[in-house]
Amino acid sequence: MTEATTTIENKTGIHARPASQFVQKASSFKSKIQIKAKGKTVDAKSILMIMSMGLVKGTEITISADGPDEADAVAALKQMVDDKFGEE
């Protein structure tokens, strides 16, 4: 399993648009991917689960992946969050 922790920095947090970008990216990997934040762990391929966490700016999240492409998956998703989903 590969893991990485980062903080959400884009102004609006993970709203619908960033959430859908995130899920699309996550779904392109074979590994099982999860997000951990605020003491909860959810499936990173579920837009509903991700949105229901209410990830606003400043929330710390841990992305973990388990499977054949786990390293790539974690790196790509962390990059996306760190790039503020292309906002600003």
Binding site: D43, S46, L48
Partner: protein, 568 residues
């Protein structure tokens, strides 16, 4: 021959278009649905998810081609909600419970919607609507109900009940008319139709089930007539009326930029009643010079918790900005036991209209009132705002409210937030007690706005919804006219201003009387503005004064009504 139906015309005008069925109630379909074994139902649901997602992909491609990026993005989010791995598991679980695929889909998205409604962030709470929309879309697919499509040409939206989002979500130049099965004239769909002057008919009853999607239809909002699949002759018989309507529309459009001023130079401000910031755009199209009544209820309805200052601020700011420097009067919460909300526990009352409501609640619930006052004060910075308190019956209530406004300002200073210091404070004069006390109240307030709908009801002790005594409901009743005159004169005497935001303000004959009494502002649903303006522009204030003097001598409301109808 066309198939004919009749309902109650509530918004005038003739409309021609194709039927678009909306807001179907799925109950009947669900009852008729024959579920198979649970394993089969799970497969039905899973297949539906795949097909609905595929249909959405096609629609999204089309929208992107037409450069409708906004709508495409919304549907893209819907598509992901359909394909969400968490949902297929939740649906299977629901099939185990109810045994029916369409019901399971509805239930699964409903519980997801409820989860979102409890969230703190306004944006996420708003997504509950999308969840329900998606659930309904899939259930309809399983039940074999086609999605309404807007093709070329105009549509007449029809349904037993229509969700307000359906009308709000369609481009306004696409909707020619509205037909509702149920009879309420105050449903949200009708209120939205009113601000856009869309011809509408309600109370068609179960006959509405006979109307099919795509049927060509003519509706007459004046008579309540509905003609389904009209012949060429029937269509032609409406040509004269439609032509006249177009001419009148053009004539009114020409009035848009002109002021409401009498032939001898007395000016009255004609402003709009609105229910949401978006209504200001429509109001501006009718030449409204600001907003005389912003019903803030929509900020409170459908919420599970007290609306936050920040969320309210955004709405008020949008409305104030759209008024382009004209005054925007925002009425504070006017809710009571008739529309219970989870965060306002009113309890059961025998007569909610004489009960714990409006300002009576606000003054006792600091947690509710403060965020609203602070949000309005802050919004005032972006133009010109006024705060209006509803249901006031005495001076003490106004003073208490005024004191809370001062406290709200102090809190804003403390929090380092910017606010406008020139926000006007006024009351709605809608109780006989307030009208009688206006000579005293006028010393304290900045303005009065006469709410005739309630003032007539409370003064005459007549419930206007009661058909048996509806004949008694008359805003020209001499008792009512005296209270109105007193209110306007009290304001003018103290150098304050009086306006009106009840339905009476949209009656051109009443407008003449009110102007002669010295009213400064008339607030109404925007489509009424041109006809009132036309009446004012064609009369002198001297002549209006003559008419008023005559009216004030008359002893009976019906006599006054009859007299006024002869002079127009």
């Amino acid at each position: 021959m066309a198939e004919k139906m009749k309902g109650k015309g509530v918004i005038s005008g003739v409309a021609v278009g194709k039927i678009m069925l909306a807001g179907q109630n799925l109950d009947g379909y669900l009852k008729d649905y024959k579920p198979k074994k649970k394993a089969d139902e799970k497969k039905v649901a899973a297949d539906a998810l795949v097909k609905v997602a595929a249909n959405l992909v096609k629609t999204i491609e089309d929208l992107n081609k037409k450069d409708m990026k906004e709508q495409a993005a919304i549907l893209e989010a819907h598509r992901m909600m359909v394909e969400d791995p968490a949902m297929s598991a939740a649906i299977d679980e629901q099939v185990d419970k109810s045994g029916s695929a369409p019901r399971a889909v509805l239930d699964a998205y409903e519980s997801q919607a409820q989860l979102f409604e409890q969230m703190e962030d306004e944006y996420f709470r708003g997504r509950a609507v999308d969840m329900r929309d998606v659930g309904k879309r899939i259930a309809k697919f399983i039940l074999g109900i086609k999605e309404p499509e807007i093709g070329e040409g105009k549509v007449i939206v029809a349904g037993q009940e229509i969700e307000p989002s359906v009308i709000a979500g369609l481009p306004s130049d696409k909707i020619a008319g509205v037909i509702l099965g149920q009879g309420s004239t105050t449903s949200h769909a009708i209120i939205i139709a009113k601000t856009r002057a869309i011809p509408s008919i309600v109370g068609v009853g179960d006959a509405i089930e006979k109307i099919a999607d795509g049927d060509p239809v003519i509706i007459d909002g004046d008579t309540g007539d509905i003609l389904i699949r009209p012949t060429a002759e029937e269509r032609a018989s409406y040509d004269v009326k439609i032509k006249k309507q177009e001419e009148l529309k053009a004539h009114y459009a020409a009035l848009k930029e002109l002021p409401a001023i009498t032939t001898d130079g007395v000016k009255v401000e004609l402003v709009a009643n609105i229910g949401s910031p978006a209504d200001v755009d429509a109001a501006n199209n009718y030449g409204a010079e600001g907003v005389g009544l912003f019903r803030s209820e929509f900020v409170f309805m459908g919420k599970t918790d007290i609306p936050k200052e920040e969320d309210q601020f955004k709405e008020y700011k949008a409305a104030v900005e759209k008024c382009n420097g004209h005054l925007c009067v925002i009425r504070t919460m006017d809710i009571g036991g008739d529309k219970p909300l989870p965060y306002i526990q009113v309890g059961t009352e025998e007569n909610p209209f004489l009960g714990y409501r409006a300002i009576r609640i606000s003054l006792q619930r600091r947690d509710l009132f403060m965020p609203q006052l602070k949000a309005i004060l802050r919004a005032g910075k972006f133009g010109k705002a006024g705060i209006m308190f509803p249901m006031v019956i005495n001076v003490e209530e106004f003073k208490a409210a005024q004191k809370m406004v001062e406290e709200a300002k102090a809190e804003l200073v403390h929090e380092g937030k910017d606010y406008a210091d020139n926000v006007q404070l006024g009351i709605m004069v809608e109780t006989p007690a307030a009208a009688v006390m206006t000579p005293i109240l006028a010393k304290y307030v900045d303005f009065f706005s006469i709410g005739t709908n309630d003032l007539v009801q409370y003064t005459l002790a007549v419930d206007r919804g009661n058909a048996q005594i509806a004949y008694l409901y008359n805003h020209f009743n001499p008792a009512v006219l005296r209270l109105i005159k007193r209110t306007i004169e009290s304001a003018n005497k103290e150098g304050k201003w009086a306006g009106m935001c009840g339905e009476m303000a949209s009656d051109p004959n009443a407008a003449i009387l009110l102007m002669a009494m010295g009213i400064k502002e008339l607030s109404m649903s925007a489509p009424s503005i041109p006809k009132v303006k036309e009446r004012i522009r064609n009369i002198s204030s001297a002549k209006a004064k003559e008419i008023l003097d005559k009216v004030m001598e008359m002893e009976d409301g019906n006599e006054i009504k009859a007299y006024l109808s002869t002079i127009s």
